[in-house]
Subunit: 114 residues, 2 copies
DNA sequence: CAAACACTTCATGAATCGTTCAACTGTTGC
DNA sequence: GCAACAGTTGAACGATTCATGAAGTGTTTG
């Protein structure tokens, strides 16, 4: 019997076109996700969801070295997830924008749904 | 002059409490982001945004080996980004839910904004 | 039931990532 | 200006991740 499948229909006329998405945009989105794809960095982001923190505070509260935290923040900053400003001798970090907070919340929700 | 800074105020009373977030949820969210944090897998996801594709189609359209695509899909499926179903001898993949599509769109938008 | 097809899984080597120590830069207070 | 403080950067290392070929699983067709 010749019951043709959905896939064969789609298949029949050669390769389906891949959606035209700017490689640079894709690359940037991937870097963004990769930056968020680490538990330690994610924990940092959840702190910053509450407001500004300086590096020393983060290090003390998380029980990690200053350099370690700084490196993690550097990655997050490189992908535009966090912003910073100087205040006296401290440097205060915060989430870059609401956009980031939203993505963070959405991912955590997706996580809890499993 | 003794102009006390924002950071010193926050600093004064020991370590600030880290937000209480289930480590498992954080871990899951990180895995989710990590799965999305790769250009090749992201490209796969953008294909699936258009509907169902079988593995062979994806491989042909993207010009990659079958095994390569299959491995990438495995990662995405492991983190619940894509779903699959069998149709005849093909296996059709699609985005797991609208939730994923939304996260994808949000990240691509964030990417374009830079 | 055997051959063909459509994948998946395993194993491996290459590349990338994350942490850490040491050295460096910038700011404040004496 | 110099010592102390706050943070960044560079280099080295182990740990993870990614792509790929070979072998294995499941489905259909003759």
């Amino acid at each position: 019997m010749n019951r043709s499948t959905v896939a064969e229909e789609l298949h029949a006329h050669g390769a389906r076109p891949v959606p035209a998405i700017d490689t640079a945009a894709l690359e940037a989105a991937a870097s963004f996700f990769r930056a968020a794809g680490d538990v330690s960095r994610l924990r940092l982001l959840t702190c910053l969801q509450q407001g500004e923190w300086c590096v020393t505070e983060l290090a003390e509260s998380l029980g990690e070295g200053l350099s370690t935290i700084s490196q993690r923040l550097k990655v997050l900053r490189g992908e535009g997830l966090v912003a910073r400003r100087r205040d006296g001798k401290h440097i205060l970090y915060s989430l870059a924008d609401d956009h980031v907070a939203a993505l963070l919340a959405a991912a955590l929700e997706h996580a809890r749904e499993r």
